[in-house]
């Protein structure tokens, strides 16, 4: 086969504007656009969804007596969020949980970072979904919810077995592909007919490979992945069974 490009993988030299929506897909009747940063845009509902920001992660690790990691993760994550909000102008932002690395760190967030959060919240509905790292209400603006139903979709932090039109985060999915002896790994969205899992949005977040049994069990056989990064790609979810020698 020639280096043919399928309708799902258009040429790499696409403009930025165009690339925003080129991998839009239908999920339970909602037309969703995954962004290269790992955010999810739902244009019809003027909603932007991000998961697992883990703000304050470096500070939490430093407080624990370990080495002081470069304290620039929070501003890097917020800068990404500001960029995506500027590009999509959403009326509503949903943070899908683990927005803060711990409840204590949320309280200790420097004033400068709190101000930036307040700035991006201005003029839009802001929803903090509860995560395993940051249970309980935030003393920042916005609404705090355990989960949220919006039209055909349900937003929660951790995927549930009885999902239907569920959008969640938590697992930090990451795809690993072997390409002619070179391994490339990228954070990715995963979706099947009932659920959609978002990649982690935070700067210092690691990931769980889609090959991991947890993710393989969770996702249906027909699950697909959309890779984040400069060139977004949509492909069948990489799994252990599909691994070639």
């Amino acid at each position: 086969m020639a280096r043919g490009l399928s309708p799902l993988a258009p040429p790499r030299a696409v403009g930025k504007k165009q690339s925003m929506n080129r991998l839009a897909f239908d999920f339970h009747g909602a037309a969703l656009a995954p962004l290269p940063s790992g955010a999810l845009h739902w244009p019809a509902a003027r909603t932007l969804v991000v998961s697992d920001l883990h703000l304050g992660k470096s500070a939490r690790m430093s407080a624990g007596g370990g080495a002081a990691l470069p304290p620039y993760d929070t501003r890097e994550t917020l800068a990404r969020l500001e960029r995506d909000i500027a590009a999509t102008a959403p009326a509503r932002v949903i943070c899908l949980g683990d927005s803060f690395d711990s409840g204590a760190i949320r309280a200790a967030l420097p004033a400068e970072d709190r101000d930036r959060i307040t700035d991006v919240q201005a003029g839009r509905e802001w929803i903090w979904i509860e995560g395993n790292h940051d249970p309980g209400p935030a003393d920042l603006g916005g609404t705090h919810r355990a989960e949220l139903m919006l039209g055909p979709l349900t937003f929660r932090h951790i995927a549930r077995a009885d999902a239907a039109g569920e959008v969640s985060g938590h697992y930090h999915p990451k795809a690993r592909l072997l390409l002619r002896g070179r391994a490339i790994s990228r954070p990715c969205f995963l979706f099947d007919t009932v659920r959609l899992i978002l990649p982690a949005y935070g700067a210092y977040t690691g990931g769980l490979f889609t090959h991991a049994p947890t993710l393989s069990r969770l996702m249906g056989a027909e699950a697909e992945a959309i890779l984040c990064g400069a060139t977004q790609m949509r492909l069948p979810m990489p799994r252990t069974e599909a691994r070639r020698a």
Binding site: S6, H28, G66, P70, D73, G206, L227, T231, R243, R244
Partner: protein, 814 residues
């Protein structure tokens, strides 16, 4: 001359032995504050180092630690313990000798701190750990001498820097401490002496008689060596014949993988069942110890081994050393030859077995160098500051410290003599708060200054984590290999990257046998026995050596000859073939070859500029190729050439060497490359920013790689002048040359660039494909490969065909 105490003199007399002149001198100068002995291997160097200790203890035995012996290898410490026991027991001296390494049991370690032996044998890492305990002053009280063995090997690395900082610490605890260094023959003894002595004190250098010329030759075989390949399988019958003719043979290899493969073939050919063992650093400790014991007992006729047996271990009856594969550098070769014939004043016997024809050229060049006693060596710059950061943390573990005193102590170590107070303060600040431009962690300082001015750990519990991360050795991350099933026997270790490439059913070699990969259980690779004759996957990585620059100069000169009467006919033929199918490198011109291989386009640039310059050239050319849309994927450099692989072939090399375009954006490219990230990762581990051990569980290398790259990118963006970024640049630049050298080369060559388009790998290029140290380039090739793969996957799954518009879109009513 100083007389030996009667008990020792009697022991010498009973054996009919006399002290060597340098041993007598060592005894005479026993009181010198610093003394460096240079002696060939087998010259009774270690005994020379210990004689003053034995003599002092025999005359006036006192409880407590008298002498600390530090060697770069655990195995060496164990070996010295065995060797010291003979004179001590036979002369009936009341001296207790113990070793302490990573292999010593916890109970024994604890007891040693409470009740130290007279002589403690240890490694730089174990010593650094000892100095981190609060009871260090008590344990080292009364210490008289420290003997640093194989100091030439330590002097080349950060392990040596760490050791010298630890000695500075000990010197403060024991002001009368005398330092002794034992070194093999080196090119620049004064350099080592400077490291050993307390700065700025002088250090006396004692050079022993170098002994007779070594008897060293290249092994001549009926079958010629192959063009490329590192296994030297062709030489198996000839090597086996040599093993038969000698009492005990050591067969050295440059990498663990080569040792495994060679051992496997040797064993298949060993029809009469000669007892042959294998020994390398990836094997399980139990296995290594069994081989060592069998060797000492004289039960083995040959040992296939790597650098783990490299340094000065006295195996008694070895009468032949075989070096398989090119010796890479002459100094290493000379030291390996020292293994044979440990009788002083008898020539050492050694055979070189080149694995391929390029190595024949290297071997002949090395033999000439040995004859001319042209030892190679490269000077090291000032002591690296990541080691300093670790040392500050170690000091904090031992108890509150005064910054002024710690600084004074550090600059008494030769490598750090030029350290400014400002540089020291930057390290201290890094240890305390991370040293970031954004002062974010003041409330969570790792170490803090008390009202009385002393510095201490904020949380005493962090001492445990710091101790677990002591050391400067950057192992590739490895995973343990075990037989499957309950209580399966441990076999050794493989690199994590190698383990990741395995699928169930793959077979590979470890510990001389073929095993079948079953799966990964947590961080253990589980395998089962396999009866295959040939492993499916032949390699896992091993220690990496580079050819020394001196040696590569000799090789260029050989390439420029019209003919090669010094080389075996098959190798001369091979060079002639290179001249026929391609060209041989010529002075004043730059030879470049381009050919497809392995599904990629390969480009070989024969600069013969030394590894550092070739490495820089690789970085620069890949940058230009990326700009030209040629999708380079990576490169590897040796002393003589750089090999670049990518998706597209280079048709016109001249634009690539356009000096103005090479220079533009150079900083950005250098900052983002894999060499920098790798260097950053190593320094971040040493300086304590990244931890390998957290509460006893080791992070897997994959996680470590990922997070260190993210940290590097973040610092580059927000804090490019951070201390660790400075250290990374310094370190990476040690391995790269400055741009001026490249400019000079492009000017000298001008447009005299010869690009030859060929259809296949050339003779001279073949060995490059075996070279370790490949540098990946993350660029457009990644994206193109991804597209290919996605297209393939979609076609395979049939998804591409069904991408019709799905169900009608459900409208949200708000």
């Amino acid at each position: 001359m100083t007389a030996l105490p009667p008990a020792l003199q009697d022991w010498f007399d009973a054996r009919g032995w006399q002290m060597h002149p340098h041993q007598e001198t060592m005894l005479d100068r026993a009181g010198a504050p610093a003394l460096l002995l240079i002696a060939p291997t087998g010259g009774g160097k270690t005994l020379a180092g210990f004689l003053p200790t034995l003599s002092e203890l025999a005359e006036a035995p006192e409880p407590g630690l008298h002498t600390l012996y530090v060697s770069p290898l655990k195995a060496l410490a164990a070996d010295i313990k065995r060797n010291l026991r003979t004179p001590i027991e036979e002369a009936g001296l009341p001296i207790r000798v113990e070793d302490r390494t990573g292999d010593t049991t916890a109970t024994q370690k604890k007891r040693q701190r409470a009740d130290p032996p007279h002589i403690l044998l240890t490694t730089p890492e174990s010593l650094a750990l000892l100095t981190s305990y609060e009871d260090a002053p008590r344990m080292f009280a009364g210490l008289k001498r420290v003997v640093v063995d194989e100091i030439h090997a330590l002097a080349e690395s950060k392990r040596g820097d760490q050791l010298m900082l630890a000695l500075a610490r000990l010197q403060t605890l024991c002001p009368d401490l005398r330092r002794v260094g034992l070194s093999a023959t080196v090119d620049d003894p004064a350099q080592i002496a400077k490291l050993l002595a307390r700065h700025p004190d002088p250090c006396e250098i004692l050079e022993a008689d170098p002994g007779p010329e070594p008897d060293i030759e290249m092994l001549v075989t009926d079958t010629p060596p192959p063009w490329s390949g590192g296994g030297a399988k062709y030489a198996i019958p000839a090597v086996l014949e040599e093993v038969r003719k000698h009492r005990t043979t050591l067969i050295f290899h440059n990498t663990r993988a080569q040792a495994e493969i060679f051992f496997h073939h040797l064993w298949l050919a060993n029809e009469e069942g000669l007892p042959i063992g294998i020994h390398h650093g990836s094997l399980d400790r139990g296995q290594r110890e069994r081989v060592e014991a069998a060797m000492v007992a004289g039960d083995l006729r040959a040992i296939v081994c790597t650098g783990s047996l490299d340094l000065g271990i006295d195996w008694g009856d070895v009468d032949l050393v075989i070096q398989v594969g090119a010796p890479k550098n002459v100094k290493r070769l000379v030291q390996r030859i020292g293994r044979a014939n440990h009788r002083y004043n008898a020539p050492s016997k050694a055979l070189l077995v080149p694995a391929n024809r390029f190595e024949v050229v290297e071997c002949v060049a090395a033999l000439q160098a040995v004859k001319e006693r042209d030892l190679d060596g490269e000077p090291r710059g000032p002591g690296p500051r990541d080691v300093l950061c670790q040392h500050i943390l170690i000091a904090a573990c031992a108890g509150p410290f005064d910054a002024e005193m710690l600084y004074a102590e550090m600059i008494s170590a030769g490598a750090y003599a030029g350290l400014t107070r400002a540089e020291f303060d930057a390290c201290l600040d890094f240890c305390a708060t991370g040293g970031y431009a954004l002062r974010a962690y003041d409330q969570w300082r790792r170490i803090l200054q008390r009202p009385d001015g002393l510095w201490q750990l904020r949380d005493p519990r962090s001492a445990l984590r710091i101790r677990q991360n002591i050391g400067t050795i950057q192992d590739t991350d490895t995973l343990k290999v075990r037989m499957r099933g309950r209580g399966g026997a441990p076999l050794g270790e493989v690199e994590e990257g190698f383990a990741a490439s395995l699928t169930k059913g793959d077979t590979f070699l470890i510990g001389g046998r073929i095993v079948r990969y079953e799966g990964l259980r947590e961080t253990v690779v589980e395998v089962s026995r396999d009866s295959a004759q040939k492993p499916k996957i032949a390699t896992f990585m091993g220690t990496k050596f580079s050819t020394s620059t001196q040696l590569s100069h000799r090789i260029v000169r050989m390439c420029q000859q019209d003919d090669w009467p010094d080389l075996p006919e098959h190798t001369a033929d091979w060079l002639r073939l290179q001249r026929e199918v391609s060209r041989l490198p010529q002075p004043g011109r730059l030879l470049i070859e381009s050919f497809p291989h392995d599904g990629r386009e390969q480009l070989v640039v024969y600069g013969f500029a030394g590894r550092n310059a070739q490495q820089t050239l690789g970085l620069l050319l890949t940058k230009r190729m990326e700009e030209e849309g040629l999708a380079p994927m990576g490169f590897v450099s040796t002393d003589y050439a750089t090999l670049i692989w990518g998706l597209d072939a280079v048709t016109d090399p001249r634009p690539l060497f356009d000096i103005a375009r090479l220079e533009a954006g150079l900083d950005t490219w250098l900052a983002g490359n894999a060499v920098m990230k790798r260097t950053f990762r190593a320094s971040a581990h040493i300086a304590g920013l990244l931890e390998r051990q957290v509460g006893g569980t080791r992070k897997t290398g994959k996680q470590a790689t990922m997070s260190s790259d993210i940290l590097y990118d973040t610092l580059l963006k927000y804090d490019p002048d951070h201390l660790l970024m400075q250290i990374t640049r310094e370190e990476a630049m040690r391995g790269l040359v400055d741009f001026d050298r490249i400019r000079e080369m492009t000017e000298r060559v001008g447009d005299r660039i010869d690009l030859l388009h060929l259809t296949r790998v050339t003779p001279l290029a073949a060995p490059l494909f075996l070279e370790p140290g490949r540098v990946p380039i993350a660029g457009s090739a990644d994206e193109r490969l991804l597209e290919e793969e996605v297209t393939r996957l979609l076609d395979a799954s049939g998804l591409a065909a069904v991408d019709a518009p799905a169900r009608p879109v459900w409208r949200v009513p708000w």
